[in-house]
Structures are given as structure tokens and as C-alpha cells.
């Protein structure tokens, strides 16, 4: 099955791992992510002001392309997902903003939010299915064991490089952008989400509950008020570590940046697509 795919700027530079692991894992699960042609920045660095329309044009272009192909548009980055989903809803609601954008873009057929925007996690749950992922992961583990046994005893053969995922106590970090505003994002219960926990269970990990999983990492405050962002990130990592987490996973490059800036607590923070690729035995 083919899906439209919007990687976003950060995934082409700082968060390459998030992108590559997402694509390769999708391929391993029998799905193809087709990158939108000549996509541009979603506008995620700007606020979602209702009267600021210019920053939303690139999103509308990407949405229109997916809609024309009749494919669901898959996103990975939390910020891109947030912006694309909300811009799409704005277009779907109609109203003067929608008309102005359609007029400005000179669309022959006005765009009315026909595209379906899904985050990679929703893609895994609703399109692929966590059951199927569980099967694929189990198959990959069996294959890996078989390969390990074939290795000559002298250790000349290279061991598979992927990190273990099974039974690792993994703390999901949701952040804000995927969950809120909940009525629009319709992603999960904003105060008691479960999709990341279910994902971790599907790939064999052990999800760790900690109360800061949906608290803010500090976001862009790290530019002007570094200490503030550091404090918030410290609270998140401290709480996760306190509940025994060995790893924190995130979907957001900005959360990743802030959590990594905090260096006092030594707990690895990785992209959720990385542990998926690892679980599927993909050497990336």
C-alpha cells in the first residue's frame, strides 16, 4: 500500500535518523511512503495564528497533492503533524480563511480539506496494525537468533548491530503537539494517552508510566530562556528515570533537542522510529 509522506525540514538535517528509520521500517512492514514532490516547510516555526495565512500555503500545497493522489498523508515530526492536521481542519471548516487561500492559490477546484493526515504512530496502529507489527518483530528476532547461531565460534562474523528492544523499560514522551488541542488533533486522550505505550508493547518493550509524559519540554523557550527549558527537561527525565525507565522515546525533533541539552541525568533519548527499526532487525 502506498502513502503520501511529508518528512519536514528537520528530518532532512538534524533528525535524519527519525526519517530514515520511518521509511525503512514502513518498507519492512510492506508499505511504501511516497515523498510529496517539492514539499516546503510546513510553517511549524510560526504560530498557528488564524489570520496569518501565508505561512499555511506550503501545508495546503502538500495536502492538496496527497488529496489528488487519493492517499493518506503520513507525517512523523510532531510539529509538522500538528500544523498539517490543523491547517487541513481549517480548510475543511470552510470560512473566509479557506476562501482566501483558495483564491490566492488560484485553485480551479477549491481545496476543502479532503486529505487525511495521519501521524506515523497512527499509521502503525490503524493502517499496519500493532498485531502485525508484533508478528513482524517476532519473526525478525527468530531470524536474528538463527543468524547468531550460525556464526563461527571464533567471532570472525560481524554481529547484528541493532540495539535490543525486548523487555527494555521504555518511557514514552508525548510532549504537547501531538495531543493538544485535543478536539482538533483527535490523537489520543490528552491526559491519559496510550498509543505510545501500545506501540512499545507491540515491539516487545516494557512501557513505563511516568506523570511527565505529556508535559512540555520547554519548546522554543530554549532560545531565549535556556534555564527554563533545561529545568522542564530535567523534570521529565528525572521522573522517567525515577520510575525505572532505561530509555525515553519521542517523535519530536524539538523535544529531542531539549531533552538532550539536559545533561545531568544520563538516560538515552531516542526517536521512536529508531526502536522500531531496531526491533525489526533493520541495520540502519
Amino acid at each position: 500500500m502506498k502513502y503520501s509522506y511529508f518528512p519536514g525540514c528537520t528530518l532532512k538535517y538534524k533528525a535524519k535518523e527519525l526519517d530514515i528509520c520511518a521509511r525503512e521500517s514502513a518498507k519492512a512492514l510492506g508499505c511504501e511512503l511516497e515523498e510529496i514532490e517539492e514539499w516546503q516547510c510546513c510553517g511549524g516555526v510560526y504560530t498557528m495564528q488564524k489570520d496569518e495565512l501565508a505561512t499555511k500555503l506550503a501545508s495546503v500545497r502538500a495536502l492538496m497533492e496527497a488529496a489528488q493522489k487519493g492517499q493518506a498523508l503520513v507525517t512523523v515530526c510532531s510539529a509538522c503533524h500538528h500544523v498539517l492536521k490543523r491547517v487541513n481542519l481549517m480548510m475543511r471548516e470552510g470560512g473566509p480563511e479557506c476562501d482566501r487561500i483558495n483564491n490566492y492559490m488560484n485553485n480551479e477546484i477549491p481545496y476543502r480539506g479532503e486529505a487525511k493526515v495521519i501521524h506515523y504512530l497512527e499509521f502503525l496502529r490503524d493502517e499496519v496494525g500493532f498485531d502485525k507489527i508484533k508478528e513482524a518483530v517476532e519473526k525478525a528476532q527468530t531470524a536474528r537468533k538463527a543468524k547468531d547461531q550460525e556464526d563461527p565460534a571464533d567471532g570472525t562474523a560481524q554481529k547484528v548491530k541493532t540495539e535490543p528492544v525486548k523487555d527494555v523499560k521504555t518511557a514514552p514522551y508525548y510532549g504537547c503537539l501531538l495531543l493538544r488541542p485535543s478536539a482538533q488533533m483527535a490523537f489520543d486522550d490528552p491526559e491519559n494517552p496510550s498509543i505510545m505505550e501500545d506501540f512499545i508493547e507491540a515491539i516487545g518493550g516494557k512501557p513505563v508510566y511516568y506523570p511527565y509524559r505529556n508535559e512540555c519540554c520547554g519548546a522554543y523557550t530554549s532560545i531565549k530562556n535556556k534555564d527554563h527549558a533545561l529545568r522542564l527537561s530535567w523534570e521529565i527525565k528525572d521522573s522517567a528515570a525515577g520510575f525505572g525507565a532505561e530509555k525515553i522515546i519521542t517523535a519530536c525533533p524539538l523535544c529531542m533537542y531539549n531533552l538532550k541539552q539536559e545533561k545531568e541525568i544520563e538516560i538515552p533519548v531516542i526517536y521512536f522510529t529508531r526502536i522500531l527499526a531496531d526491533a525489526l532487525g533493520l541495520e540502519i
Partner: protein
């Protein structure tokens, strides 16, 4: 020829402020059939009614139109006036120019135009009115009270005091309701059980009162004065006539894993149980889903230990049908489900509890024996945070729009009791507003603040974070000091909103009693008929009608009882003559009307019908006028136009429409 009088009321400035009443009266004079018209300041007053009576007599009026407030308000008033003047009361029409005109419009000219149109429609209708005579029906001298909490118990006691028989149907195994779960009551701090249990005993020993506990109302038919109610007496599996209430069966029962409803699931109970020690009747029930005997066939311990041979595994539900003259709804409340408020971590931490759960913890007969302790580790909390308005006064769809009314007072009570009993425990209350109107209520709250040093913070809590250390980090805001507040608490108590019992909607539907969007039963008039449902013969007692505390509930219970007594003391009731009837010649026997009738008033008979001299046997609709409430559903549904409603005939309605469109 009809001789119609039109009377236009100013209602002070309520109507006259927006509508040119003199002009309405003037326009009325020009209507066909109108021989008299006049406006007056208060038509419902003594002088206004005399004006109407004199005009009827002087001008020999055959019908009158009163342009005033809603007929729900004063139709009866004006009908009575007409009757005093010798006019049939059903020759009176009301044009509602207040609720449906002056109150909702601002533009004087437009509102006046609309008032004139409404007046014209009423005149057109009254010209076609025919005198109707109300029939009579008897009154069954027995009342039913649905719900055995303090509201139901008090209503039953008061009805019984007047000498009438009254039955209480209670869903759970014991009467007592929410009040039996409470520890102390505000504002006097007397123990809830000490003031409630004597009333429970009184109700049980009152010879006029019959208790049907562990029973539910299944079906209601009939009408005011003549209700017929099917009651399901659920199988207790214990014979009430033999059980001595010794309690050995509960002690010996090996299945003790069912969460105790009475203790809000904070601990477990046995499969055979009475909800609490002072339960009435003191006869246990077997919860068959949790009983080993019922689930696997093996066990039977309770039967072996019972000295009285009261255990009966074969017992079945019993259906009884009882006739009543009046029904009182006293179904009470529950606290809302907190799934949508997980920022307070209720589902994540055992130490985040609701106020009702705290009542059980503070109660000497509760799961902790009255010791204030954390349910997670049994430690005494040193820092407690109360959060008010959880789900109350909520602007979005997560919670309730209304104020639950009782929370400010019980939070102050709980905070005060904790400070009194455990002076080394810090107590903080987050609130939006403190609402303590009521006798000695504000003084009570001030005592909590000033004498007991409870910290009140105006502001809301954004999040409760249960840490791995066991502490609950409460993050909130103090909007008076404009600061961020972080409190590492040991226990968090949520004043969750209250909502009507989940069965309220089902019961209201059975009774055809109206209900609002929040599932509170609606009163007949917000100010003047607060304890009556718009459905005749149905009365409201307690929180089923809206949030209220115990003193208010007891007062309302007495009020509802007074209304019931007033009804039951009559031997005959006037029935509504505005009922449906079917034209046998036009009826094709399709059964459409029977299906839409909410009162079961229509049946079918095979009759010999004289169709233009030809006698034929036909299946035709017959309306039981005693059951018909005159809703008119059948007249709309009838495809052949055979059904018609006295007082609201198809001709009258069309005449009104014509007048509106003229």
C-alpha cells in the same frame, strides 16, 4: 355568531415595555367576531379578572382571548374567571405575547406586529372552540416513592403522617442512600448515621410504609390518581421471613473479592452481603455474579452456617403490580466519572480520591476504621490538597455546566475535621469561588479559614503528578498573588461534580416526566411549582431535580409530600376533556395512531359501522379518554384524518395558521 372579547395584559413593563398593548387591543376590535377589547396593567390581578368577568356578562361574550403570558402560567386562572362569569372554561384562549414575543424581541414595531398576529390566531381559534366538560376519575389512596435515600424516606414519612399508604422502591439492598455513606454533616457536624438511621428505622416500622428494597420499577401505566406500576423484586436468595440478620453468612462466605459499593470500591465485600451494618432491612442478598455457588455449583457455605435456614438458592425475581394515586421521584445522585479529568491522576494514583471516598475513609465504619491514611501505603498524610469544581461549572463538554452546590461546604467540613483531628497535617484548598449561602454556612467556612488555618488558594490546579517517591506534585496557580504554586502533597481530594443517578432518564421515560440535558427532572414551574413534574401526578424530591444539600432535600421532601397528600385527599379528580377521538367512518384501521400513542390510550375494535346507510363490519380505533393526555401525536400521525383532538381540532389549528398567514 360568536361574540369574542380580547383582553391585552401589560404585565407591568414585561409586555408593555416592548409591545404597544393599546394598539393590539385596537387592532383586536377590528377582528371579525370581536365585540369587546381592552388592555389592562395586570390582567391576572383581582381587578383584571373582575374586568374580564364583567365584560363577559355585560357583552354576553361567547369566548375570550387573553393576550398575556404563557398558558402554563395563567391559563387555569383565566379559565376559572370565565367559569365564574358563567362561560365554559374551554372557551378561553391564551395568546402568549410575553415568553414568545415581548421577552425575545427588542424592536417595538416588530414585536407589536407579531403580538397582533398571535392575537389574530387566537381569535380565529376561539371562534371555533366548543364548550367542553371535564370528566371525573377516582383516586387510588396510595403513593409510590422511587428511591430510598433521605429524600425518599422523608417524603414517605410525611405522607404516612397524613394517614396514607406509601411504598418505597429502592434499587439497592438497603434504604439510606448517599447520606448513609457520609461521616459528618455540615454545618453542625453531627454524625450522619446518628440523624439518618433513626429515620430509617421509623420508615421500616411505620405501618403505612412498605419497603421494597433490592427492587426496581419496571413499567408504569395509567395517569394521575390511577397509576399502575410493575415492580421487580429481585431475588435476594435469602428469605426475609426467616433471616435473623445474625451476619454469620457474611463472615463465613469464602468469596470476598467483590468491590464494596457502599465503600466506593475502596475495599471488598463478601458475595453474600448487607451494604453496611445498620442496613434496613437487615437481610443480606447474594450477589450471584460473585458467588461461588452460583458460578461453579460448589460451595454452599452460607446455607450450611445459617441457623435459620434462610438461604434459598432457588429464589427467583418476583413481579408485583400495585396501583397508586401519585408517584414521587427521589432517585438522587452519583458523582461523575473522572476519566476525562486525568490531569488530576485519579486513575493513576490511589492517593488521589474523591470527596465521597474521603467520607468513607473518615468514617469509623469505613475501610480504614476512620483513620486518615493513604490507600497506597497506609501512611498518615501530612500535606493534603483539596481541588474544588472538578467537573462542575465546566465550560467545555468534559464536565457539567452547573455548580454542584454542595462541594464548597463539604470541602470546608472535611478540611476542618482533618485540621481538628490531625493538627500537624497541612490542608490547602484550591477554589474558583467560594459559594456558601445558607443559614450558618458562611460562618462555617470562615471557621475553617480563621480557626482551623485551612489554606484557601483562589485558582485552579493544572496537573497532579504522582512521583516515584509517592509524593503527588500539585501544580496550580494562585490568581490573587499571581504566582505559580507547586505543592508536594501526600493526598489529593477531588470535589467531583454530582450528576443525577444513571437510572433517572430511564425512570423519567417510564413516567413520561420531562428531563433536562443534564438528566435532572424538570419541575412544572421554576418558581411556582418546584416539586411537581409537568406530568400530572408525578412529584420530585431531592437531587433528582437539581443539586441540593440535606436540609434543602428534607424541606423539598416535605413539600412533595404535601402535594401528594393534597392529591390523595381528593376522592375525584377532574380529567382533561381535551382528548382525542376517532371518526369511525374515516378510520381505515391502519394502527398508526396506536403505535405513536405514548400513553397506550388507543386500542382497536371491530365494530358495525353505518357507512351512508350501508352497515359494514370494520376495525376502527377507539380512544380511552381516561388514559389520553391530549398530546395530539395521533392526530398528526393519522393518514386518513380520522383522529381529532377536542379543543385542538384540525379545523382550529388550520384557522390559526390561516390567521397567521393572512
Amino acid at each position: 355568531m360568536p361574540r369574542i372579547g380580547v383582553f391585552v395584559c401589560h404585565c407591568g413593563t414585561n409586555i408593555a415595555g416592548t409591545i404597544d398593548v393599546a394598539k393590539v387591543a385596537e387592532m383586536a376590535a377590528a377582528e371579525q367576531g370581536v365585540v369587546f377589547s381592552k388592555d389592562y396593567q395586570y390582567m391576572c390581578s383581582q381587578t383584571g379578572q373582575t374586568l374580564i368577568i364583567d365584560a363577559i356578562k355585560e357583552y354576553k361574550l361567547t369566548g375570550i382571548v387573553v393576550c398575556s403570558c404563557s398558558p402554563r402560567m395563567h391559563e387555569t386562572t383565566f379559565r376559572n374567571a370565565a367559569q365564574r362569569a358563567g362561560l365554559n372554561p374551554y372557551m378561553v384562549e391564551i395568546a402568549n405575547i410575553r415568553e414568545q414575543c415581548s421577552w425575545i424581541h427588542k424592536d417595538r414595531e416588530e414585536a407589536t406586529e407579531k403580538a397582533v398576529i398571535l392575537m389574530r390566531a387566537a381569535v380565529a381559534k376561539v371562534c371555533l372552540n366548543t364548550p367542553l366538560t371535564a370528566g371525573e376519575s377516582g383516586v387510588t389512596k396510595r403513593a409510590l416513592v422511587i428511591g430510598g435515600g433521605i429524600a425518599g424516606i422523608q417524603t414517605a414519612l410525611d405522607i404516612s403522617a397524613a394517614g396514607f399508604k406509601v411504598d418505597i422502591v429502592e434499587k439497592t439492598p438497603s434504604i439510606g442512600g448517599r447520606m448513609s455513606q457520609l461521616d459528618k454533616t455540615f454545618p453542625t457536624l453531627d454524625c450522619s448515621a446518628c440523624i439518618l438511621t433513626p429515620k430509617m428505622v421509623e420508615a421500616a416500622s411505620d405501618e403505612n410504609i412498605t419497603l421494597y428494597t433490592y427492587s426496581e420499577v419496571e413499567k408504569v401505566s395509567g395517569f394521575v390518581g390511577n397509576f399502575k406500576v410493575d415492580i421487580r423484586k429481585k431475588a435476594r436468595s435469602v428469605r426475609a421471613d426467616k433471616c435473623t440478620g445474625c451476619g454469620v453468612c457474611q463472615e463465613k462466605c469464602p468469596s470476598k473479592k467483590a468491590p464494596s459499593e457502599f465503600n466506593r470500591g475502596l475495599n471488598n465485600r463478601s458475595a453474600i452481603y448487607t451494604p453496611f451494618a445498620q442496613a434496613i432491612p437487615n437481610v443480606p442478598v447474594i450477589d450471584r455474579e460473585n458467588c461461588i455457588k452460583f458460578q461453579t455449583g460448589k460451595c454452599g457455605v452460607c446455607s450450611k452456617v445459617c441457623q435459620a435456614n434462610a438461604i434459598d438458592y432457588e429464589q427467583e425475581d418476583e413481579m408485583i403490580t400495585v396501583e397508586y394515586g401519585a408517584i414521587v421521584v427521589a432517585t438522587g445522585f452519583d458523582v461523575i466519572n473522572l476519566d476525562k479529568y486525568d490531569e488530576y491522576a485519579y486513575s493513576k494514583s490511589k492517593d488521589v480520591i474523591t470527596s465521597l471516598e474521603l467520607e468513607r475513609i473518615m468514617n469509623a465504619a469505613g475501610p480504614t476504621g476512620g483513620h486518615l491514611e493513604r490507600l497506597s501505603d497506609g501512611k498518615a498524610p501530612k500535606e493534603i490538597v483539596f481541588i474544588q469544581c472538578v467537573g462542575s461549572r465546566c465550560a467545555d463538554e468534559r464536565g457539567k455546566s452547573y455548580c454542584s452546590k454542595i462541594c464548597c461546604m463539604y470541602t470546608a467540613k472535611q478540611a476542618m475535621l482533618i485540621r481538628d483531628k490531625y493538627p500537624d497535617t497541612n490542608v490547602t484548598v484550591f477554589y474558583i469561588d467560594i459559594r456558601t449561602p445558607g443559614k450558618n454556612f458562611d460562618e462555617f467556612y470562615r471557621r475553617a479559614v480563621e480557626d482551623y488555618n485551612v489554606h484557601y488558594i483562589k485558582g485552579q490546579v493544572g496537573k497532579v503528578l504522582p512521583e516515584s517517591s509517592g509524593k503527588l506534585i500539585v501544580v496550580g496557580s494562585d490568581i490573587i498573588d499571581a504566582r505559580h504554586v507547586i505543592i508536594p502533597a501526600d493526598m489529593v481530594v477531588l470535589a467531583a461534580a454530582i450528576e443525577p443517578n444513571k437510572d433517572a432518564r430511564k425512570i423519567a421515560t417510564m413516567l413520561t416526566a420531562s428531563i433536562d440535558n443534564n438528566n435532572f427532572l424538570t419541575e412544572a414551574h421554576a418558581k411556582l411549582r418546584p416539586v411537581e413534574s409537568p406530568t400530572a401526578g408525578i412529584f420530585l424530591s431531592g437531587v433528582c431535580q437539581g443539586p441540593r444539600d440535606i436540609p434543602e432535600t428534607v424541606a423539598m421532601a416535605g413539600s412533595a409530600a404535601a402535594k401528594v397528600i393534597g392529591l390523595l385527599s381528593k376522592d375525584r379528580l377532574k380529567s382533561n376533556p381535551c382528548t382525542a377521538h376517532s371518526d369511525e367512518l374515516m378510520c381505515n384501521g391502519c394502527s398508526t395512531c396506536e403505535k405513536v400513542c405514548p400513553y397506550g390510550a388507543i386500542s382497536y375494535e371491530t365494530k358495525i359501522v353505518n357507512d351512508h346507510g350501508v352497515k359494514k363490519e370494520r376495525r376502527v380505533a377507539v380512544v380511552n379518554a381516561a388514559l389520553c393526555q391530549g398530546c395530539g401525536a395521533c392526530t398528526v400521525a393519522c393518514p386518513s384524518g380520522a383522529m381529532d383532538l377536542s379543543g385542538f381540532s384540525n379545523r382550529q389549528i388550520i384557522a390559526e395558521v390561516d390567521a397567521v398567514c393572512r
